[in-house]
C-alpha cells in the first residue's frame, strides 16, 4: 500500500495521546491503592490530560487530510454496526470527551471520595471517570487496529498482532512522554514511569518482531492464476489496459526502492526500541529532562517510520492486475 502521511500522523498522534492518558491513569490508580505516594501534583493530571487531549486533536486534524470530503465527515459515524472505521470515528470523540472531563476534574479539584477501604484504598469519582476513559482508550486501540486487521486479503495485516502492536506502541510512546513530563510535575514518579516505559517498549519490541517474522514467511493466497482463472504455471500480464497509470497503480504501492524499504525496517527497530530504552534508562538515573524528552522525540520519529513500513509492507492482491503497462 502507499503510506498516506495523514493516516501515519493520525495513528501515531492518537497513540501518544491514548498512551499518555493510560500513564496518567496508571499513576492515579497506583496512588489510590497507596502503592505510590498519594496526591502527586494537580498539574501532573490536569496539564498531562490537556497534553494528551492535544495529541488526540492533532490526530483528528491529520485524519481530515485523508478525506476527499472532510465536510461530510460526520456521516462516518453511521455504519458502526459493520465498519471498524465508523467505530473508530465514535470511539475517538468518546476518549476525547472523557479525557477532557478527567483533566477538568483534576484541574478544578472536583473530586469526591466515594469509598475508603480499611487499608486506605480510595475510590473517587475521578478514578471512575478514569476507568471509563481507560476502557474507551482500549476500545479506540482495538478499532484502529481492526481497521487494518479485518481486511482478510491484506494478509500482512490480517492478524491479532496488528491490534496488539497498535496498542503497545501507542502506550509505549505515551508512557515515555509521561516520564519526560514527570520531571516537571511529579519528580517522585520518574522511576515509576521510566521503568514502565522500558517494560512496555521492550514488550512492543517482542510483538513487533513477531509480526515481522510472521510476515516474512507469508504465503499469498492469490496469484495471477486465480486472478484471471487460467490454469497454467506461466501467466504473465502484458498490458494492464492503460498507459498513464491510475489510482490503482498509485495508491497500492509504496513506489520506493527495495533498499529504502528494507532500511526503514532497521531504522524503526533502532529508533522505536533501542535508542529510547537506553535514553530513558540514562535519563531516570540522572533525572535528566533533555535525555527523557529526546527519548520521546526519537521514539516518535521512529514510530513514523514504523507506520510507514506497516503500510508499505502490505501487499494488496489487486496489484496482480496491475503489473505491466
Amino acid at each position: 500500500m502507499n503510506p498516506a502521511f495523514s493516516v501515519i500522523f493520525l495513528t501515531t498522534l492518537i497513540g501518544v495521546g491514548q498512551g499518555l492518558f493510560l500513564a496518567l491513569f496508571t499513576g492515579q490508580s497506583y496512588s489510590a491503592v497507596k502503592l505510590l505516594p498519594a496526591a502527586t501534583s494537580v498539574e501532573f493530571y490536569s496539564i498531562g490530560g490537556l497534553i494528551a487531549l492535544l495529541f488526540l486533536v492533532g490526530g483528528l486534524i491529520a485524519s481530515f487530510f485523508h478525506l476527499g470530503h472532510p465536510e461530510r465527515a460526520w456521516r462516518a459515524a453511521a455504519m458502526w454496526r459493520t465498519s471498524w472505521l465508523s467505530r473508530e470515528v465514535l470511539a475517538l470523540p468518546a476518549v476525547m470527551g472523557l479525557l477532557f472531563i478527567y483533566a477538568l476534574m483534576h484541574y478544578m479539584e472536583w473530586d469526591i471520595v466515594l469509598f475508603t477501604s480499611e487499608a486506605g484504598a480510595e475510590l473517587s469519582v475521578s478514578l471512575i471517570v478514569g476507568i471509563l476513559g481507560m476502557l474507551a482508550t482500549f476500545a479506540l486501540f482495538l478499532c484502529t487496529g481492526m481497521i487494518y486487521a479485518c481486511i482478510k486479503f491484506l494478509q500482512e495485516w490480517h492478524t491479532p498482532l496488528t491490534v496488539i502492536n497498535y496498542t503497545l506502541l501507542g502506550t509505549a510512546s505515551g508512557f515515555v512522554l509521561a516520564t519526560a513530563f514527570a520531571t516537571y510535575t511529579a519528580p517522585g514518579l520518574l522511576k515509576f514511569f521510566g521503568i514502565w516505559s522500558i517494560i512496555i517498549t521492550l514488550t512492543a519490541l517482542i510483538t513487533r518482531v513477531a509480526s515481522l517474522l510472521r510476515n516474512r514467511n507469508i504465503k499469498y493466497k492469490s496469484s495471477a492464476q486465480t486472478a484471471i482463472g487460467v490454469r497454467h504455471t506461466k501467466v504473465k500480464q502484458i498490458a494492464m489496459g492503460m498507459m498513464g497509470g491510475s489510482v490503482n497503480t498509485r495508491d497500492f504501492n509504496h513506489h520506493m526502492s527495495a533498499l529504502f524499504f528494507k532500511s526503514i525496517k532497521w531504522v524503526f527497530l533502532v529508533l522505536v526500541f533501542v535508542v529510547p530504552s537506553i535514553l530513558i534508562w540514562a535519563g531516570i538515573e540522572e533525572a535528566n529532562r533533555t535525555l527523557l524528552f529526546s527519548a520521546f522525540i526519537v521514539q516518535y520519529i521512529g514510530l513514523i517510520a514504523e507506520r510507514w513500513f506497516f503500510f508499505a509492507q502490505a501487499n494488496h492482491p489487486q496489484n496482480i492486475y496491475y503489473q505491466t503497462v
Binding site: H69, S83, L85, C150, I151, A227, H232, G245, Y322
Partner: protein
C-alpha cells in the same frame, strides 16, 4: 431474488476496448457528472474508468496464448467493500444485487477500495468520491429506451458478443445457462466474495481422428476403386447380416 450480472466470454473477446470506451462515454455523460480524464492526449493520460481490458500471456514462447481480459466490478454477492464503508455510501441493492456508491454520501476515505481484492474501485480524483461500475443502472431500467437497448453500454458495444447480461439467480436465464454449460467461473474464489460476474474460459474444439479412421476397414487390399460387384442377381452378404 434477482442478481444482475455480466458473463464475459474469454473465448471470443478480442481485446478491442469497445466496452471501455462505450462505458466511459455513457457514464461520463450521465446525471452523476463526468468521470475525470486528465491529459487524455498528453504524456501521462489518467482518469477514472469503470472497466478495463487487460491482456495476459499464458505459457512460454513458442507455446503461448494471448488472453484478453475485461475487468470491472463483479457485483459480489458477499461484497467485502460494503460493510467497511463508514458512511453507508457503498451499498448493495436488495432488489437486483447491484453494488452502488451514493456519491452524495461518500466522504472519499478510500477504505472500500482497500477492501476490494479486484481493484475494481477507482476514486475520482476531481470529485473526490469513490466510483465503480453501476451495471448501467441508469440505462437498464430506462423505459424511454427500446426494450433491446435496456442493457449495459458495454454489452451493447461489444462487437463479438463476448459480454452477456442477465440474472444469475434465474437458472434459465441466458447467462445462467452459459455459466452452467460452458464452464463459467469466478475470479479469486479464495476470498469468499462470491462474485456475480462470471467468466467463460477458452474453449478449444478438437476432433480426434484415430488411425483406423484413416484407413478403410472394408478395403483390405487398399485399392481406391469402385467396390467390386458380383452379378446383379446374386445374393449378397448385406441381405442376410447387419454389421
Amino acid at each position: 431474488m434477482t442478481q444482475l450480472a455480466l458473463v464475459i466470454d474469454l473465448n471470443v473477446c478480442v481485446g478491442c476496448h469497445a466496452c471501455v470506451t462505450s462505458c466511459k462515454e455513457w457514464n461520463t455523460s450521465g446525471p452523476a457528472g463526468s468521470m475525470c480524464d486528465d491529459n487524455p492526449y498528453g504524456k501521462d493520460p489518467t482518469g477514472t474508468f469503470f472497466n478495463r481490458v487487460q491482456t495476459y500471456e499464458v505459457g512460454e514462447f513458442p507455446l503461448t496464448e494471448t488472453v484478453h481480459f475485461p475487468k470491472s466490478c463483479l457485483h459480489c454477492e458477499d461484497p467485502p467493500c460494503v460493510p467497511v464503508c463508514p458512511t453507508g455510501a457503498s451499498y448493495k441493492r436488495e432488489s437486483d444485487g447491484i453494488v452502488l456508491v451514493d456519491y452524495d454520501k461518500c466522504i472519499g476515505c478510500r477504505y472500500c477500495s482497500w477492501a476490494c481484492p479486484y481493484g475494481a474501485r477507482e476514486i475520482d480524483e476531481h470529485q473526490k468520491v469513490m466510483k465503480k461500475c453501476t451495471l448501467c443502472v441508469d440505462r437498464i431500467y430506462d423505459e424511454e429506451l427500446p426494450e433491446e437497448e435496456r442493457k449495459p453500454a458495454c454489452v451493447l458495444a461489444c462487437p463479438t458478443s463476448a459480454r452477456l447480461f442477465g440474472d444469475v439467480h434465474d437458472s434459465e436465464s441466458e447467462i445462467s445457462v452459459a455459466i452452467r454449460e460452458e464452464g463459467g467461473y469466478q475470479l479469486m474464489p479464495e476470498w469468499g466474495t462470491k462474485p456475480s460476474n462470471h467468466y467463460l474460459p477458452r474453449r478449444k474444439i478438437r476432433k480426434h481422428i484415430h488411425k483406423d479412421e484413416l484407413e478403410r476397414a472394408d478395403n483390405p487390399l487398399n485399392k481406391e476403386q469402385r467396390k467390386p460387384h458380383g452379378p446383379i442377381d446374386a445374393p449378397t452378404l448385406d441381405d442376410s447380416t447387419s454389421w
